[in-house]
Structure formats: C-alpha cells, structure tokens
Symmetry: C2
C-alpha cells in the first residue's frame, strides 16, 4: 500500500485557510472530523473529506491541518493502516497511548498566540464543539465556524450526494408500525415535558419510518432529517424520492389517517430554516430535544433555554431494544449467514492447498455465498479478510497491493457480515488450514476464554456493558497480553452494524444499561504486529437469566449467541480451557449443528453440512 | 435505635429560609451537603450539620429541605441506617435505584415556579454547584449562595472548631521532606505552566508538610489551607498552633534555608481575602490550579480565565503513590494490626460461649488490643462490629440500643482499622464461632472468590481500578447475588483511610490508573437484610507483575496483600473454590503464619499464636 501524496492538496487547503472568500480572517488551523452532517460512522463518498485530504480511510480519525503541521488522531485499530496510507506530511497521533496529546493540547502547543481554529459546523458534533471551544478559549485561541467546507473547496472532483430508492419495511419485518413508534416517542416527550424532537441520526430516522435506503454503502439508510412535534411530523428528504405510490401510501402522505400522523415533507436542505422558524415560535417554556452528538450547526439554532441535549435520543433507546419480530428476523438472518460461512470454510479447506485463494478472492467468495441467501441486500461492512501479518491490522481490508495468498502455514482471520431484509450480521472467525503453532493456539485460547467469559456472564438487570469488558480480557491480561479495542458494539436490525447506546468497552462510561432484547457483539482479539491476528466474534442477544437467587428482585441477564458458526477446535489449546469452558464450546457447537445443520440440509448443501458436522464434534 | 425528632428543628430552619436577616429573598429549598469547607468525608462535630438536622449520621448523604418536604439522598451502604435514624418528616432517597430521582430532578418536580434554592457556598463543591445550578436554571429556578449557614442559625449548642496539637512526621516515617515535596509540586506546576496552586483538602496539606493533627476524629489532619506559588508558600492555620519551637523549626518559620521555601503563615479564616489579593494581582496569562471538588466559594474567587480546575490535584496524585519508606511503614502497621486481631479472635473464641461479649465490647476489645501496639495513635474509622442482622447494615456502628450479644449461632462481621505513626489499616473479617449454615457458607465463598479474583488479578499498567470491579462480583452475579457498594478505596499512610484518586468501583470512570506503590482496599461483600452480612477486606499494595508475555512493553501489575489476618476456613465451602483459589488461600495463610507468627512470638502472645497456627492450616 503506497501512501497518498498530499503535499499539493495541503498547500491548496492552507491557501483556502487564508482566503477571505471563505474566512473573514485567516485561520491558523482547520479541523477535519470524519463524519457527515448526521455524525454517521460510515459515510458516503461525497463526505469522505478526511480520507480525501490525508489518504487514511479507516472508520475513525480526525485530521487537523495547521500552517506548519498536519496531524491525524486515530485509535489502536488503525495505527498500522494509517501509518501506511499517509505520506510524510502527516503525523500519526496514536490515541490511547499515554504520550499522545489530545487534539486540544496539541493545538495549544503548536499554535501562535490568539489563533483561530476553523471547522465545518455541520460536521462537528455539538458536544465536541463545546469541548474544543472551551479548551481553545482557555488558552487564548478561538474555534470558529467556517460555513464553506474548505476540503470541498480543494476537492475538484467530489462525488454527488446519493439519493437511492427507498425501501418500505413491512410490519412482518419491522414488527411495529411507524405510527405506533411516533406515538411511543410522543409519550416519552410528554413524560419529560418536551415539545419538539429533532432527529438527525440517519438510522434513527430509517427505523422510525420503517424505511431503508442505500445512500451509504453497508448502512441501509437515507439522507434525511425529522422534526417531530406533539401534533406534527416534518420529514426533510430529497423530494424526488417520494414519488413512488407505495411509498406515499406507506407514509400516508396523501391521506393521513389522523391529523397528528400527517407527515409534512420538505427538501433535505431546508431543515436549518425550518428549525429556525419553529424555534422562533417557541413559547417561553417550550423545550426541544436534540442529541448532544448532533451537528453544532443545527444544535445552535435552538436557543439555549429551549435546548435539552441528550446523550441518547428516545429513538436510539427504543431502537436498541429489539421487538419480538426483529429478534426473530435477526435469528433467521444469522442462520442464513451461518450457512454461507459453513460453505465458505468448507470451500476454503479444499481450495487453499491449491494456492489459488487470496484474501480478496476469499472475501468475494463469502459475499457470493451470502448473496445466494434469501433477502440478501448487501454487506454490512467491508469484509476484513487477512492472513498472517495482515490479520494483525485490526480493521484491515485487502487491497490489490496488499493482497496475500491463503496458505496452510498462516492463520486466517475473516470478519464479515451482511444486511438481509430480516436482519444484520457481523461475525469473525480465525482459522488455520494447516497446523497452527503452539503460540498461536495459546493466544487463540486466551481470546476464546475471554469470548466465553462475556457470552456466559450472568449479571444483574441494570448493568452497563462496560462493566463486562474486563471479563473478556482477564485471561489475556494474566499472560501479559491485551487488545486495543473495545469488546462489543450494539448491532442494528437491518440497520447499521454499529449502533448505540449499549456496548461493551473500557472506553466509555456513558453507555446505557443492558436490557433483554438488546443485541451486541462479543469480539475480543489478540494482534501480534507483523505476525498474526486473532478475533472471535459472535453477535449475542441479551436475554433474562435465572440464577439460583434473585437479590432484591432485580433479575439477572445473560447472552444468547445469535451467530451460529463453529469456532475452530484446531486453534484451541483445549488443556487451557476449564471444564465449564469446554462445556460451553460443546453446547455452542451442538446448537450450531442442530440449527444450521437443518438449514444446510434444507438447502441441500452437502459439503458444508459435512464440514459443519466434523467441526462440531465435542471436545473433551 | 429511635429516630431523631426533627419537626421543631425543621420549623426553625424553614423560618430561617424566609428570614431577611439571612437571605435577601425567601428561599424555597435549602441544600445541606455532608461535608465541611474542605469537602472532607469525615468531619468534625461542628460540621455535622446534615446529621444535626436529620439524625442520620452515615458518612455520605445530602439533605434537602423545602417548605413542604425534607428528603435525604444516601447510597446502599446506608439505606437501613438512614431509615432507622430519621423520623417521619424525612423521605429517604435511595441512590442507585432506578426509581430514585436525582436531587435536581426531585427539586424540579416539587418546587413552585421560579424558586430559589439556597446552599452554603463553603460546603458545596464547585463541580456540584455548577451541575446543580445548571439543572435548576434550565427549569426556571436558581441556586443561590447563602453566606450564613442556616443550620448553624438553628443549632444553638454547636460545638467549637477543634485546634489540636500538630505532630511532626520525621523523615523516618515520611520518607521525603516537605521541601522536596514542594519542589516536586512546583515542577508539576511549571510543566503545565501553572503559577499558583490552592490546596484545600486537609489530607493533602498534612501530607505536603509532613504534619499530622487530630482535628477530625479518625483522620489525623488539621484545619488549614495552603496557597503555593513558584516562589512563595502561604499556610492558613490557627496561628496559636505554631508556637511550638520544634514545629517552627520543622517548617523553618524563623530561618528558612531558601527564600522560595519560606512559609508565610496566616490565620485560617483569611484564606478568602488573601486569595482575592493574589487573584487581583494575576498577570493576564497566569493560571491557578484548584481541585474541581474544592468549595464553590474559594473556586469562584479565581476569575474564570485564570482558573484551571482539576479533578485530582498533583498532591493527591503524589500522595497516592507511596514511597518506599511509606510502604515499609504500612507493612509494619499491618503486622501490628494483625497481632491485635489474632489476639481478638482468639479471645472471642473463648469468651463468646460465655454469652458476655457484645458488639460494643468486642469493638472495645479490638481497640484495647490495637492500643497496646507500638506507635498506635487511634482508630482509623468507627469500628463496624455487627452480628446477625446488624451485620447487614453495611456501615453499622453498634449503639447501646442496637447492641447485640455475640453467640455461636450467628455470623459476626468486624470491619476496623487503626492509625499508627507508620501507617493506616482497614480490615474486615466475617467469622462464625459455632457452625455456619450452608447458605451462609455459600454466600461467604462467593464473596471470597470475588476477593481473590481482584487480589490475584494481573492487569496492564495504566488500567483504571474501576475495570477490576466486576471481577469481585462475577461469582456473586452468577448466583443472582450482588452488593451495593464499591469494591475498594485508596488508603492513606497515617492519613485518611479513604483517599483518592484510585479505587475499585463500578460507580466512577474518573479514577486515575493504578500504579505500583498505590494502596487500595479489596472488600466485596454480601448483605441479606434482616439476616446476616459478609465482607472480606484486605488492604493491598499495587506491585509489578511478571506474566509470561509483555504486550507492547506496557508491563503488568497485580496486588500484594498488606493485611495479614487469617480468613476463616470454617466459613468457606471449599468445594466451591477452584484449585487456584485454594492455592491462593493457602499461600495467603502461609504468609500470615510466617510474618504475623514471628511477631506474635516476639511479643510473647502465645494464645493468639496458637489460634493463628490453627487457623492457617492448609485447605485441600
């Protein structure tokens, strides 16, 4: 992988930073967050500004360009990748290491006195703006909103914003009508005496209206805003998308059943002026809910006395607890996904010895096999398919120039998932198609012990996911090992593969408590730079547990794996497993065989079925 | 225990809330935090205002009195105790339960429009003020500083503020001179370009100057403030205390060795005006460090552009990492403490069957035995000595009216500790002097498993203590049990038995990472209301660990128990312990026998030695 040449681009950007066409006074630094106006994690090509300017295309990172410097902050998943994709103009700031300065500390250390730091107010979240603005002011600098995005100024061939066709999600998949969701949301608003709610997160809007789009690759969402009042619903979206009669019918655009369920539609771009108009007409005690991670620009439209910022919106919370229809859909999606993966692994086993399978072709094969499954829509994220040292790059995506051939001598890691109309999947398996080394097996076994410790954990109702993070690390820690990423994220149902407000990570304290019906991933790993990478990931459903006692009637929870793909026994040092861990593996494999076996049988996939049966033999 | 009758007091307080002698306009609510002007956890009798008005004397709690209501917020340790100590005028707000409103939410729900809520600005911490003020403003109310403390107004027989004799801590105990501590602190200030540091926490000031006092029971501190500049040291203290020639010599008050080590002394009360004078003379870029938990009153003296609030001061951080002299002192203190406890338990075993030992007499005996040890100064907190249902009251202190007799039929819990000149101790043991029930043993064993899981944990350098909290709970959770308090707190060295900035708790995310040399407690428990209580507590030292691997050269840490008192084998269901847990118990008991046995031998305490040897037989 050769880095992007950025010298000329940075020169142009620095010119723009001084150009009075864009800034009233020159700015000494410009912040380029990775995100769009909806603070999406995955973004459309037209929004990949941080990648455009730096070459680094990982999912998380913030660039800051000053007159002298260009620096990129990213986390442990991307240290290697970022250092390979960026040229010498860039300094990599490794977040999470003690010696790495925060963005604000770094800015304060390099800026001349009384500097102005610019940022696009649509791209920066309100809470980040506040934090950064405060830190800069305290050092005599100021954060300024630059209305024209300066990357767009130098990005001459920037792609158009997508406007894909909208897909209606029927009740058989959504479980609850959008009208009922609106009613529930208004109930939450009434409870908290809130008059208006501004929805800016694309997955929340898609979930609310039981609609899906394809504006952003991997995430079935569409560009839109919604402003919900107690008697009104405003939807901001490219109006061309609303011509389909079925869609108009679904949204009751032409004949609303009830006045308060009547959706007024507006062009996507008019959200700012419309919100201004609403805010101008607010009563003195009226309150507006907006996520504190919404854009600074929209947030500041709401005058402070009316603004009630919330870390997680009621839509985010409601969406996280899957309804029975969604749970059933997620289960079906995972069975289909397991069928594709069993087939893949059986195929790999046969093909790898021929020396013809590469990281890319294996990923392609996985996609091909998934696409044969019913209601397949697309992948849920770019497949991570890495062999040997490439697997140590935590979010590695194979490129032609990095593409390695799978052999019987190296560990292979594949982290992949798909969108089906009934649900979203995300699974990682680490396999060896020859004989793994004792060390590889040892590390794999520690990771597996961590995976099991989380998956089998029983914990009280009300427990936040971050309290479970250390369970995933204990076995690694005991041997002096660790991994520099969280253990799990929320997973949407035919929605974003990463969603809040729950997760399992040492990095946050603000996650919402786990509840029955929530779905998260459980994915500890171990990565040895330049050598190999290991991760074992299942998507798991939070379910009630019934332990022996019930302290204070709080009730207990545990996890049920939705992912049903065998975990390679060959990679385990079974003597390092406790009897309970061995029992867990055997019970898990029994269920894989039973559930996925039946589906393989039904689909007549004999080779995969044989593979499944062999790979799910009990261990002793 | 009968509750305090508070009707008349509340009537007087409500009068004061309307009296223009104290408030320019009537206030509709008055907040009574539990604390003093230094935000101490343990407070002097003259500062026990929340106890005076409510009767509730636990270590944590905040009272709010409105025209109609009186409510008390406290945490799970005190639910029982508070409900017993308060009369019907009070509503108990059980913090940590989902249905319990926060103080601000409750105020907003009960106050009439545009209410004023008063508080003593010396008692409320700056961060609490900010939080409360913001929440109230957003609902149309306001938080106002009431200069006269309204509890003092109605507290006619309020005690005088103590001014005990100061004790010099020689280098043989302190390890580092106060001058070297000042130099190190100034180094930290220079590093961060800070010009002034305002120290308000009593233990930080005591630690800095290698002085101890006795102004607050159990905590060897004295009322003082310090303002440190790069060339000046101001000490605010009752000047009468500085007449002792040895003390004047220790502080070099009459002949400072260097100008920048010259201490200027001021009356305790003049800190406000002196800080005002300093702040008036600040240069435009001058910065002042003050803890964000310091009083709102002192904090607001520093104009915002100059104020740099910090969650933990450099003194707090430096004090937490014990130097080799302090570690050695803590080890010695714990050996002496173990001698006293072995003697106590041997005595209890003989005396309990006679029916003559009560919770109070057992606690008194423990104190008597500790006081026989060299350099004993006093207890480090009120002894918790509870049998049967009383032990389920987490911070129970026996009173004549609650005092129960120890028998061979009930579990006995004693949580106690002492101040010695060389160190501070804090230990809990739960014992049965007859035959415990299977259920009591089962619960005890889960608690012990949690204790061992923390004590034996290996974790990377840089890990925050809160990440270890779940280790202590896993075995309890698995059976549906839990405890509603944190797992550990920092422990001072001949200082406060509770200190920051580290700890082991699910409740905080802002603790500082654990470092070798830090000392914390490890104290999971289980409490069955109305029946019994269990806790197993050791004080443990953070020490480097050497596991097999060393990922990213981060290094690993683990704990070494400083407490060396046998854990009663009779209470264990050894069949529930893993082999590793049994090995841990045996190794711990071997060390108790070796180290404490030698000291018992030296002190000629034969009976206790026999008890120790019997209680430390290996388990299989």
């Amino acid at each position: 992988m050769s880095p992007k040449i950025t010298g000329e681009l940075l020169r142009l950007l620095r010119n723009a930073m001084r150009n009075c066409k864009y800034v009233s006074e020159p700015i000494q630094a410009y912040i380029i967050p990775s995100g769009d106006a909806h603070q999406s994690e995955y973004i459309a090509p037209c929004d990949c500004r941080r990648e455009f300017i730096s070459g680094f295309n990982g999912s998380a990172g913030t660039a800051i360009v000053t007159e002298q410097h260009a620096a990129m902050w990213t986390d442990g998943r991307y240290f290697l990748q970022a250092s390979q994709q960026m040229d010498n103009n860039w300094t990599l700031m490794k977040m999470g290491l003690k010696e790495t300065p925060s963005q604000e500390d770094w800015l304060i250390s390099v800026l001349p006195e009384n500097s102005k730091v610019g940022v696009d107010p649509w791209i920066i979240a309100a809470d980040q703006w506040k934090h950064m603005s405060k830190a800069l002011s305290s050092a005599g600098h100021s954060l300024v909103a630059v209305q024209d995005n300066l990357i767009d100024v130098v990005w001459t061939d920037r792609p158009e914003r997508a406007s894909s066709q909208l897909r209606i999600l029927g009740l058989e998949h959504a479980g609850v009508s959008w009208q009922d969701k609106v009613t529930a949301l208004r109930g939450k608003m009434a409870e908290r005496k809130i008059n208006w709610f501004v929805a800016t997160a694309l997955d929340e809007i898609a979930w609310l209206f039981n609609l899906r789009g394809a504006d952003i690759e991997y995430n079935p969402v569409f560009f839109a805003y919604t402003i919900l009042g107690m008697n009104s619903i405003r939807l901001f979206v490219d109006l061309k998308r609303l011509s389909d009669p079925a869609l108009r019918d679904h949204l009751q655009l032409d004949s609303p059943s009830k006045a308060d369920m009547s959706i007024q539609t507006f062009p996507y771009e008019s959200v700012y002026t419309e919100l201004q108009a609403i805010c101008a007409a607010l009563g003195p005690k009226d309150k507006v809910w907006i996520c504190d991670k919404a854009s600074c620009c929209l947030t500041q439209v709401i005058a402070k006395p009316h603004r009630t910022p919330i870390p997680y919106t009621p839509l985010c919370l409601a969406k996280a607890v899957k309804n029975p229809t969604e749970i059933q859909g997620m289960k079906l999606a995972h069975i289909k996904d397991a069928v594709a993966l069993c087939e893949l692994f059986a195929w790999l086993e046969k093909e790898i010895p021929k020396g013809t399978v590469t990281e890319i072709s294996a990923a392609d094969k996985a996609e091909e096999l998934r696409s044969q499954q019913k209601d397949f829509v697309g992948l849920s994220f770019p497949t991570i398919s890495g062999v040997g040292p490439n697997a140590a790059i935590i979010h590695y995506g194979p490129l032609p120039e990095t593409n390695r051939t799978l052999t019987v001598n190296e560990v292979y890691l594949i982290d992949s998932g798909a969108q089906y109309i009934d649900g979203t999947t995300d699974v990682t398996r680490t396999m060896h198609f020859g004989t793994p080394s004792a060390y590889e097996k040892e590390c794999f076994t520690y990771v597996l012990k961590g995976h099991i410790a989380v998956s089998a954990a029983i914990f009280p109702n009300g427990t936040k996911g971050h309290l479970l993070d250390s369970f995933a690390r204990a076995a690694l820690w005991e041997s002096g090992l660790d991994y520099l990423h969280g253990t799990g994220h929320g997973v949407g149902c035919f929605l974003n593969v990463h969603e809040g407000p729950c997760g399992i990570s040492y990095k946050t304290f603000a996650d919402e408590p786990l509840e029955a019906g929530m779905i998260v991933s459980d994915e500890p790993g171990y990565y040895e730079e330049g050598s190999f990478g290991i991760r074992v990931e299942n998507v798991v459903l939070v379910v009630p547990a019934k332990p022996k006692y019930n302290y204070r009637n709080r009730g207990s929870l545990t996890f049920e794996p939705l992912t049903l793909v065998p975990i390679q026994v060959k990679m385990m040092s079974t003597e390092l497993l406790t009897q309970r861990e061995r029992d867990w593996v055997n019970e898990y494999h029994r269920k894989c065989r039973e559930v996925v076996g039946a589906e393989l049988e039904r689909q007549g996939r004999k080779q995969a079925l044989e593979w499944l049966i062999r790979e799910t033999q009990p261990i002793v």
